[in-house]
Subunit: 398 residues, 2 copies
């Protein structure tokens, strides 16, 4: 079981903070956007006498409410196709436990959300990466490369769009290509859609909108990023495949129920006005623009322009991103400040890839991003393991 690449630097950050250093945390997808007051108020004003177990699939009232939400975003499901989970994490875990036996394989385009490894490890499932590349902004690799990796043990393909960690937003053509592949080989399509609302170039496409693939799709969802409510730990597994749903329910029953107070929040969230997302989306887009532009102005740095979510991966002129990120926290300061980044190596399944890449989560306001970029710029000048590679110098991505 590998440690979380996002969290393994935490002790160094804690040590830096204890020395009085201001650490800009761009390492983790913890938004600074405020949790909407109405959904917190729903908990504050809830009339609770006994905080009971809910239904193992989540409160029926919440599931019915979510049907409205999904309808609004163009996904047609019924309440008994929704299983409320403890964060998106549990939805992913239930997917692995339900659709794959130990020894089975799931194909995931890399770089990918590192915790997929943890869930795969828990389920005894093998992750087979197909490499996407920074040069074309981490677009879906050619379908032929997926096909080459399919074996008798392959049971599923897992995608995430808008993507964590790359920010890449899959096009309809890419989603359709995945559909054809899943139909051809009868594979499940696991679709992590945590960042649905945050897409900046056109709309995010849900796997459940792919006609004819309904029985193969498991949608993994969460309120964490959507409503800036990561700490609530509330997600959902959505599937029209009744056998899969029933099997997942057994795992759901074993852990009794998803968090109760969070479900009150989730239910209230569906009643937020439709324009709720306008402000955070505009804010994230402005941050993205600033971050990407600042990065690409740094000598030797290349950062493609992400189409969604609130992550970007940048290539840096460094020897080793793990060393660099630790050095930023242990050895470097600029005006008594530094920046915390996630080494990209942890997002690749193939050893050796991503050594000169880092993931940046633009979850801080514009001033903080500017200050963090000042730190990074200075750090790249001072870092002893600097590698001069002029290839991408001053190239601005799409």
């Amino acid at each position: 079981m590998p440690p979380s690449p996002i969290r393994k630097l935490v002790p160094y950050a804690e040590a830096a903070r204890k020395k009085g250093i201001k650490v800009y945390q761009l390492n983790i997808g913890q938004p600074d956007i405020e949790t909407p007051v109405p959904i917190l108020d729903a908990v504050r004003h809830a009339d609770i006498k006994v905080l009971e177990y809910s239904h193992s699939a989540g409160n029926e009232s919440y599931r019915r409410k979510l049907v409205e939400y999904y309808k609004r975003v163009g996904i047609d499901v019924s309440y008994d196709q929704i299983l409320i989970t403890t964060g998106g994490s549990e939805a992913i875990m239930f997917g692995f436990f339900t659709c794959l036996n130990p020894g089975d394989e799931v194909i995931i385009p890399e770089p990918f959300y590192a915790n997929y490894n943890g869930f795969a490890c828990a389920a005894g499932v093998k992750v087979i990466p197909v490499t996407s590349h920074i040069e074309n902004g981490f677009a879906l690799p050619p379908i032929k490369e997926f096909e080459n990796k399919i074996s008798a043990k392959t049971k599923a393909i897992l995608v995430c769009s808008p993507n964590n960690p790359t920010g890449y937003l899959y096009s309809m053509e890419e989603m359709e290509a995945l559909k054809e592949l899943c139909l051809k080989y009868n594979l499940y399509l696991f679709s992590d859609e945590a960042y649905r609302e945050f897409s900046y170039h056109g709309k995010s496409i849900s796997a459940l909108q792919l006609k004819g693939l309904e029985q193969n799709v498991l949608l993994m969802d969460t309120i964490s990023k959507r409503y800036s409510a990561c700490g609530a730990r509330l997600g959902a597994l959505v599937t029209k495949n009744k056998n899969v749903y029933d099997a997942a329910m057994k795992f759901a029953q074993a852990r009794l129920s998803p968090p109760g107070l969070a479900q009150i929040m989730g239910e209230a969230a569906v009643d937020l006005p439709e324009h709720y997302f306008d402000a955070p989306k505009t804010e994230y887009q402005a941050r993205r623009d600033l971050l990407v532009s600042r990065l690409n102005k740094m000598p030797g740095v290349f950062c493609p322009n992400p189409g969604g979510a609130f992550y970007a991966i940048a290539k840096l002129p460094i020897d080793d991103c793990d060393k660099f990120c630790q050095w930023l926290l242990e050895k470097f300061t600029f005006n008594n400040q530094t920046v915390m980044l996630a080494p990209a190596t942890g997002f690749y399944g193939t050893a050796g890839l991503g050594k000169n890449e880092v993931r940046l989560a633009y979850v801080l306001n514009l001033d903080a991003i500017n200050a963090a970029m000042d730190c990074l710029e200075k750090a790249l000048e001072e870092y002893p393991g600097k590698v001069i590679d002029g290839k991408h110098l001053n190239v601005i991505a799409n």
Copy 2:
């Protein structure tokens, strides 16, 4: 993956309710005791701007608070030996994932909490049951029987005291015998102590109080029953074994963090006055006395007197508890009421055991227990699959 024996009857209960039948739910450990107002108020008055991920091990402030709690109950631990989990369920799951590889074995006295099967299944671990018997109130089976089941694959013994589903409270002698066995074969001792506060004959002994076994013990804990807060989904894995703790942390990091609002409740709970437990404990004890006495007065019924928790297992003069429990919901009414029980078969690992036993959770008030016992008494008269077995007639347990 087996379905939950406690929850599989839910659709029949829902159907009965839709017909207007009052169903007394003695099937599930969902207490009716009110959640303490101060711990709900702590959430209501919490000043939250962004509901962020907490530390993967839980908020440090909560872990430090729990150190106080454990000290009060005679358990000496430090905050970095406590890992906050999503309910006791996750603590058990982390224990399995951390200490056992797929194919390894865990020995559990049966009948046992059925969801252990689910977690074992998820972890690819084999549960090896050692049978305890209703005749002696489900006391710890002779250590020799454990020893007979130990193989090269045995990595742990799991016990729960006070016990769910039997209510049995292990004595110091029994706990010491388990300690010697674990030391002799270098086994982990998983100790589910969810019901610590509810012991009616002397004090519950924690596995972490067993001198010399500290490195082998994983304590699985939860606030669900203690503070009538099942829906919060908040528990803890406590261990002094640093390697185990560090390995469990990797699984904790993969799922990011335990529920945030619940941690506010948990922290406030430690500040409840010491006498808080007096009222629920007195109430549960009165219910137990009523339930056990009513059961043992029914012809052909035998129910040992449980020493703790809020469960009892009773032997009934019936052919098949699964059929009987379903029949109670589908076919039977008395004054337009019926009772929902948990078939004991689901709590045994050995097929065929427990066929004439049911588990009753005394989580309803005295009037409701009386009414439920009226139903059961009548049902045992009417049930077509009745089996006359005079052996235990009118025997009152210890």
